[in-house]
C-alpha cells in the first residue's frame, strides 16, 4: 500500500431500478401473434419495398407510416451470420457455449438476431436453413420464439 492510497477504500453498492416497457400497438400485435398463433409478422414499406422484422410504425429510411402494412413471414429462414458465445454471464439468456445467429426469414428483408439451438456450435454455417421453435408459455418478448433450430 502506497502512502497515496492508504486512505482509499472500495465500498460495495447496488444500482437497482424497476422499469416497465410498453411495446405499443404495433409491437403488441407482433408479440401476440407469436404467442397465440405462432405466426411471425413483419411490416412492408410500400415506398422502398423493404419488409421489416421486428415490425415498426415508421420506415426509418422513407419516414413513411407502415404500421398497417402487415405481411406474414415464413417460420423458416437462413443463417446470414453467427457467433458462438463462450463465456457465462448472469445477463445472458443461455449457458455457454451457445450460438447467436442473424437469421433472415423467408419474406423478410432484415435479419433478426436469435438463439440457434439443437446444433453443435462447431457445425453451424452461414446459409444454414433454420426454423423457429416457439416457447410453450407466454413470454411476451422476442423470446416468445424460444430458439431456432436447423431444418431436419
Amino acid at each position: 500500500m502506497t502512502e497515496e492510497n492508504k486512505h482509499c477504500y472500495i465500498k460495495e453498492g447496488k444500482l437497482a431500478l424497476p422499469y416497465q416497457y410498453f411495446a405499443g400497438r404495433v409491437g403488441s400485435k407482433f408479440l401476440v401473434s407469436l404467442r397465440d398463433k405462432k405466426k411471425i409478422l413483419g411490416v412492408k414499406c410500400e415506398k422502398c419495398g423493404k419488409v421489416f422484422i421486428p415490425p415498426r410504425k415508421t420506415c426509418e429510411r422513407c419516414f413513411e407510416d407502415i404500421s398497417e402494412k402487415w405481411v406474414e413471414l415464413s417460420n423458416e429462414g437462413e443463417v446470414t451470420n453467427f457467433t458462438v458465445v463462450r463465456t457465462d454471464d448472469k445477463h445472458h439468456p443461455r449457458k455457454a457455449p451457445y450460438v447467436l445467429a442473424m437469421i433472415k426469414l423467408g419474406g423478410a428483408d432484415t435479419p433478426i438476431a436469435h438463439i440457434l439451438g439443437g446444433v453443435d456450435p462447431d457445425s453451424v454455417k452461414t446459409g444454414m436453413k433454420v426454423k423457429a421453435v416457439f416457447a410453450d408459455k407466454a413470454v411476451n418478448t422476442m423470446l416468445q420464439i424460444d430458439r431456432f433450430e436447423p431444418v431436419n
Binding site: 486512505h7 477504500y9 460495495e12 453498492g13 447496488k14 437497482a16 424497476p18 416497465q20 400497438r25 403488441s28
Partner: protein, 386 residues
C-alpha cells in the same frame, strides 16, 4: 337507491367479498374504512385479514387503518373506471386518512367492479336490419303483412309489409296481419340469436303465433339470419416489467476515505479550503468555490444546530432496497459546531424527537455499535434536552 353511471354505492360494497383476491392480500392485516357522502352513501368497514375479507355497513368507523372519504358519484366513478382516481384525490374530491399505501395495495386485493354486461343485441337493433335481411327471391308473389308484438321492457310493435318482392317496415300493428308473433323481448332476442328453440318456446307458451301458421313457417326463408354486430375487441397491449440490478463498487478516494475512518472512531471530519477557509462536510477533494485542493481535515461537531427540518409524509420505495421508510420521518440539516457558516450536514432525526423539534434546536449523533465507514455509522441525530 341512487345510481351513478348505472351503479349504486351498495353495488360496489355488496360485490366486494366476491371480488376479493387472496393472492393480492397476502400478509395484509388492515381495516379499510369508507365514508361515502351524498345520495346513496353511507359508511362501510372492510376488514382484510390475510386470506379473508369481511365487508360491513356500519355507523362506527373507528379503529381503521386507512379511511377514504368521497362523495357517492366520485366513489362509484373511480371504482368503475369512469373517473380518474389520482385526479380525484389530488383535486380534493377523495380524501384519505391514515396509511395511504393501503389504498394502492387495495387495488391488488380486489378485482375491479365490472358493469353487468348488457346484451349488445337489442330488439330495435334486430328490426333495424329486417329490411336489409329481406330475401325477395323467396318472397315471390307474396302480398302479406307480418306483425310483431314484442312485449316487456325494450319491446315494441312492428309490421313488416311484404308486397311485389319488396319489404317495408312500419311501427305499430296493422289490422290485416297474416300472422302476429307475440313474445317477450328477452325471449325474442334469444330466438333470433338461436339460443331458444322456436318449438320449445311455442310449447312453453313463450312464443304465441296468431294467424296463419303456414306464413309463420316461411318466415326464416323470407328473412336472412340476423348476424349480431361483432363486438370490437380491445387490443391486448404488451408490457414487460423488469428490475435492473447491478452490483457496483464505489471508490472513496483518500478524502472521503479519511472521513469514513473518522466515523469509525466517532469523529466527524470536514475539509478546509486553504484559500477561503470554507469547510465542507462530507468533505470533497476541492473547494466548491475556489476550486483548489482542500486536503486539510478538521474535526467538527459532532453536535450542532438544526437549520432545516424536513418532515417526510410521503415516502416512495427505495429502489436500492425495495423498502419504504415508515412515515412520517424527518431529515435534518445541521450546522455542526465549528464548521463555520458555509455547509450543513444532512442526516435523519430520531423519530421520538419528531413531535417537538424545530429549527434552532441542538442535536447530537447517535452512533451505531457496528461502524464500518458508511452513512449508517450514525443511526440518526437526537435532540439534546439537557
Amino acid at each position: 337507491m341512487a345510481k351513478y353511471f348505472d351503479v349504486s354505492v351498495e353495488d360496489i360494497f355488496n360485490t366486494m367479498e366476491a371480488r376479493f383476491r387472496v393472492e393480492g392480500a397476502k400478509g395484509v392485516n388492515a381495516v379499510l374504512a369508507y365514508d361515502i357522502s351524498g345520495d346513496g352513501g353511507g359508511k362501510w368497514l372492510v376488514e382484510v385479514r390475510d386470506d379473508s375479507v369481511k365487508v360491513a355497513k356500519t355507523d362506527d368507523l373507528s379503529g381503521f387503518s386507512v379511511k377514504t372519504s368521497a362523495d357517492a358519484e366520485t366513489f362509484v366513478g373511480v371504482n368503475i373506471g369512469k373517473i380518474d382516481g389520482t385526479q380525484a384525490f389530488m383535486s380534493g374530491k377523495i380524501k384519505i386518512e391514515g396509511d395511504m399505501a393501503l389504498v394502492a395495495a387495495s387495488a391488488k386485493m380486489f378485482t375491479r367492479y365490472s358493469l353487468p354486461k348488457k346484451s349488445a343485441v337489442t330488439v330495435q337493433g334486430i328490426f333495424d336490419t329486417l329490411v336489409a335481411r329481406f330475401q325477395p327471391q323467396n318472397a315471390a308473389g307474396l302480398d302479406i303483412s307480418v306483425g310483431y308484438d314484442i312485449t316487456g321492457e325494450d319491446g315494441g310493435q312492428w309490421t313488416a309489409v311484404i308486397k311485389d318482392g319488396k319489404c317495408a317496415l312500419e311501427t305499430g300493428l296493422r289490422d290485416n296481419c297474416a300472422v302476429v308473433n307475440i313474445v317477450k323481448a328477452k325471449d325474442y332476442i334469444d330466438l333470433i340469436l338461436g339460443k331458444l328453440d322456436p318449438m320449445v318456446a311455442m310449447g312453453a307458451g313463450r312464443l304465441k303465433l296468431k294467424g296463419d301458421m303456414n306464413v309463420a313457417m316461411q318466415l326464416p326463408k323470407i328473412f336472412a339470419k340476423f348476424e349480431p354486430p361483432k363486438e370490437e375487441e380491445e387490443q391486448e397491449l404488451i408490457v414487460i416489467k423488469r428490475n435492473i440490478s447491478v452490483d457496483m463498487k464505489y471508490s472513496t478516494g483518500p478524502v472521503m476515505g479519511k472521513f469514513f475512518e473518522g466515523l469509525i472512531e466517532k469523529k466527524i471530519l470536514a475539509n478546509k479550503c486553504p484559500k477561503c477557509g470554507r469547510m465542507q462536510v462530507p468533505p470533497r477533494e476541492v473547494c466548491a468555490e475556489c476550486r483548489c485542493w482542500a486536503g486539510d481535515m478538521i474535526e467538527v461537531g459532532p453536535s450542532g444546530t438544526i437549520t432545516l427540518i424536513e418532515i417526510i409524509y410521503y415516502s416512495s420505495p427505495d429502489p436500492l432496497t425495495g423498502e419504504t421508510r415508515e412515515t412520517p420521518y424527518a431529515q435534518v440539516h445541521i450546522l455542526l459546531d465549528g464548521i463555520g457558516t458555509e455547509e450543513t450536514f444532512w442526516h435523519l432525526l430520531k423519530n421520538e424527537d419528531l413531535a417537538d423539534t424545530k429549527k434552532g434546536d441542538r442535536v447530537r449523533p447517535v452512533w451505531s455499535d457496528k461502524r464500518v465507514g458508511s452513512v449508517h455509522d450514525i443511526i440518526h441525530f437526537e435532540r439534546i434536552r439537557d
